[in-house]
């Protein structure tokens, strides 16, 4: 329990310098996931660098072309933003079903996509987990894996990425703004996370000295016609067992001109389904077309026992999300 050190960074530059030179140091923003790990002794960092004093990261900036979210914007702040609700409804819908109001007042958009998995084996130190302790094995593969992934897994890890927000961001082609020791760079949101492969402990593509400064979201008709559907074991304050962020743009004849589909609760990272998007294009927006396209979502899926029900649940979730979206277009 002891041994945690705390430092306050006045700028992102000083934060990047500290996390770049202390490999085990972590940035703390909202702290909602990090404090759970401290409490449960799951990868507790020896040093946290608090970036809450950094200026300029708390704003939601809106213009005609795009919306920019600073890393320290709180989840509830996004939910209450009329411009985000109007231009990117899937993002607001994903956040309303995230955690609890108390957690959402603390948690930040910068930290949310970097939260750790809820896999039972990652959170339980008495069990093997390649993500928590590389080389120790995966308890979930042959164990209690009802909540685990059917997409993007490997023989070393089938932990799902738990964020709802990240699924919506992946669907809506968000850009991540990153700051590091060598300056700033941008990367597509879909390239932020890594597949587990044989290094499941490496979860994202940020360098050790890099920190998320914020995001850019381009306003498009497609993004404005977006929707998020979350399926979970209870109606509130629960992780997704399956979710879908979808967007549709119809032409004047009612045909699908463009589509976006990303899913959560079933995959090791926020998961774009390009083959489903392609299959939707050019079709009339009918329940039949939605079901046929959604069926492709499990083409490469692998079930592991307890989570086999997701092979049926995932296509249905996508089709239902598309149907709900079409009804309000």
């Amino acid at each position: 329990m002891s041994g945690l050190a705390y430092a306050r960074a006045a700028s992102l530059e000083s934060a990047t310098e500290v996390i770049g030179s202390h490999r085990a140091a972590e940035v703390i923003a909202g702290g909602t996931d990090l404090l759970q790990r401290l409490e449960e002794h799951v990868l507790p960092p020896p040093l946290v660098v608090d970036i809450n004093g950094v200026e300029g990261l708390r704003a939601i900036e809106v213009d005609d072309h795009e919306i920019r979210l600073g890393a320290l914007v709180r989840l509830n702040q996004v939910i209450e933003s009329a411009p985000v609700r109007d231009a990117f409804p899937a993002i607001v819908e994903a956040l309303i079903v995230t955690a609890s109001p108390q957690v959402r007042n603390l948690a930040t958009v910068g930290g949310n996509p970097l939260q750790k998995t809820r896999c039972l084996y990652f959170r339980d130190q008495s069990t093997p987990c390649n993500k928590r302790e590389p080389g120790s094995g995966c308890g979930a593969l042959e164990g209690r894996n009802r909540i685990n992934a059917i997409l993007g897994g490997s023989e070393h890890c089938i932990a799902t990425h738990p964020s709802d927000f990240a699924v919506a961001m992946a669907a809506l082609d968000a850009t991540v703004l990153v700051v590091g020791a060598r300056g700033e760079r941008r990367l597509p949101f879909t390239e932020l996370h890594r597949l587990p492969g044989d290094t499941p402990h490496l979860e994202h593509n940020l360098a050790p000295d890099e920190v998320i400064e914020g995001y850019r979201l381009t306003r498009t008709p497609l993004a404005r016609h977006s929707h998020y559907l979350k399926v979970r074991d209870r109606g509130e304050f629960e992780w997704a067992i399956c979710s879908a962020a979808v967007a549709l743009e119809l032409d004047h004849g009612g045909r699908i001109a463009d589509a976006r589909v990303a899913v959560g609760g079933v995959a090791t990272k926020p998961w774009r389904l390009g083959q489903v998007e392609t299959a939707l294009q050019g079709r009339q927006a009918t329940a039949e077309a939605f079901a046929e396209a959604a069926a492709l979502s499990v083409q490469n899926a692998v079930a592991h026992g307890d989570n086999a029900y997701k092979l049926a649940l995932l296509p249905r979730t996508i089709a239902r999300a598309l149907t709900e979206l079409r009804e309000r277009l």
Binding site: M1, Y6, S14, E17, P46, N52, S100, Q102
Partner: protein, 173 residues
């Protein structure tokens, strides 16, 4: 790592494992020495002896430790004490009505029997105050949704919702 100093652009970043913090709780300032690891919840209960805020799960799941930070409800177990510096903290002990006695929501919890064992009650009331302030107490269904961060294992939910709904109606402009 104890009190190590790291040179960084824009000034040295001081890393400390113990530090002096000043917490403003219920309008009063308190200076105390804490570990970096100390949560706001533990500082309130163990150091300031404000035991109204309850410790349930310590993982942000039960809501028993809900307090207001700058007027917004948060889980005190998910906040490091050092990070609560400069914020206005309100606990159940700091809640007052216009008459200087009970807050209207406290009165409504009594009127509606919004508790049984009482352990979750301070967190329920602080969360309910936040819920009403946010404007998310417009209907019983909305209250149920926006009070999802507070668990009552006695199951007094129906009466809790009634107490919040009645108070929200009474305080609506």
């Amino acid at each position: 790592m104890e009190n190590a100093s790291t040179g960084a652009e824009g000034g040295a970043v001081q890393a400390r494992s113990t530090m002096r913090v000043t917490l403003e709780v219920n309008g009063r300032e308190h200076a105390l020495d804490v570990q970096a690891r100390t949560t706001l919840l533990d500082a309130l209960r163990d150091r300031l002896h404000l035991n109204g805020t309850k410790k349930g799960c310590a993982l942000g799941q039960c809501g028993a430790c809900t307090v207001l930070m700058d007027g917004e409800r948060v889980n005190a177990c998910l906040v490091l004490a050092v990070m609560a510096q400069g914020r206005h903290i309100t606990t159940i002990e700091g809640l007052r009505g216009g008459d200087g006695l009970l807050h209207p929501l406290q009165r409504a919890f009594l009127d509606h029997d919004g508790f049984q064992c009482g352990y979750c009650t301070p967190g329920q009331i602080m969360s309910g105050v936040g819920c009403i302030e946010e404007g998310h107490a417009g209907s019983r269904a909305e209250i149920r949704q926006y009070m999802s961060g507070n668990i009552c294992r006695c199951g007094a939910y129906v009466n809790i919702v009634e107490a919040i709904f009645e108070t929200a109606v009474g305080t609506r402009p």
